[in-house]
Symmetry: C2
Subunit: 244 residues, 2 copies
């Protein structure tokens, strides 16, 4: 028995997210199907976490156990020749049997991309959120910086979810601006469902002045999902790194 | 009667090219359909030239005549609200009645994008040609520079086409390299069908050493389409500018 770790990039536009769902095309399901063909075994691929429908990944990490004699490079090449062009295996390597892509993740980093100008960029339309009103970058940075550290993120969790522990630690949260393209990078020890998209949706309202910085503070402190802004669209979100 | 000029950007991935074809989705047909709704007239849109299936445009130019009282900005806004997200009208303006987008074009500039590395960029997969063998940029530049000026381009025209005048003038032909991304920019007074893609397909073979520079010279001089390389895929090609 061997344990193999994959690093995967995918364009989530045409998938119902990472996790296997009956009768729906998912990233996990698509890769598992090809792994079965390659190894002849029924493979269960363990991802570092789910990504939602339409969310992309630059470096998703997953592992699976197999008795196949194929070495990781052979598996990587076979997968890349069989997978559709919107999923690509960047690397495959042996890891100790106890490695578990989800339980052992120490942090994950997400990036959210916003195009802030009048004119759309039609070629990148599936990879950012197009926001037309002029955003105040410094005000957004002030709001984002409040989230750094260990907090109760109930205000930014998925509506209607009842999670036992809404405490997460954000290690890093930065907003970069490159001409009209804004990138928010968030590294945390874990994320509640829709947490990044709820944060971005609310911070963008801060950026165009619909919510003041003080109101943002109150929303965060209230630990009540109903106060925050509408969640940002999935297509701007990328899982960029998983740290072990 | 007014004459209105449109500057249009489109992602050609999901279209059978610019020109109207029966029962096929085309850029021209898609825009004409919306112009008819907006003006109530049957509009014939005159493009600067056709682009083939899968080819993109950053600034295609087209004009149409109308008796509508709508000003260009209203037409632009109405079109952008009705058109699908892979076509965008960048500007609309009145031009003299005698302006004709095809006959009056003095030059057109195309750009061809090549990703030259092992790993694909899945997010840009519809906007470049992914070439894995290492390309010799200087050798490619030498080949391209031979094409500058006024020549018979029969060697690079569409297979089987019988054009009366295969003479064209290339004003500018440059290869730019930005990390792994190569861009070939060609400005000419006109292009034969598939000319850019045939040039690129052949020059890429020069780049990885399948064709020597001397052989390239002979292919160009032979004025025989059968000698040149396979044409490069449509998806790497962009119409970037039309000059009047």
């Amino acid at each position: 028995m061997k344990n193999i770790k994959l690093t995967i990039t995918y364009d989530g536009s045409n998938y119902h997210g990472w996790q296997v769902q009956k009768d729906k095309k998912t990233i996990q399901g698509t890769i598992e199907l090809q792994l079965k063909k390659i190894t002849g075994e029924k493979i269960r691929l363990i991802g570092s976490g789910r990504t939602d429908a339409g969310v992309h990944a630059l470096n998703q990490v997953a592992n699976f156990k197999t008795d196949s004699d194929l070495i990781p490079l052979q598996i990587q090449k076979a997968l890349n020749s069989l997978l559709p062009e919107d999923i690509y295996i960047k690397s495959a390597e042996y890891v100790p049997l106890e490695f578990h892509a989800r339980y052992m993740a120490k942090s994950k980093t997400y990036e959210y991309r916003i195009l802030n100008r009048q004119e759309p960029n039609i070629f990148q339309r599936k990879y950012h959120w197009h926001v037309i009103p002029k955003l105040d970058i410094e005000r957004m940075r002030s709001a984002l910086s409040l989230l750094k550290g260990t907090h109760d993120f109930s205000s930014f969790m998925s509506a209607g979810s009842s999670i036992k522990d809404p405490i997460r630690t954000i290690f890093k949260i930065e907003l970069y601006k490159d001409n009209d393209l804004l990138k928010v990078i968030i590294e945390a020890n874990g994320f509640l469902r829709y947490m990044v998209r709820n944060i971005i949706g609310t911070v963008v309202q801060v950026g165009y002045g619909k919510i003041s910085l003080n109101e943002f503070k109150n929303i965060f402190a209230a630990r009540d999902r109903r106060l925050a802004g509408k969640k940002a669209p999935a297509k701007g979100l990328f899982l960029v790194k998983v740290r072990y």
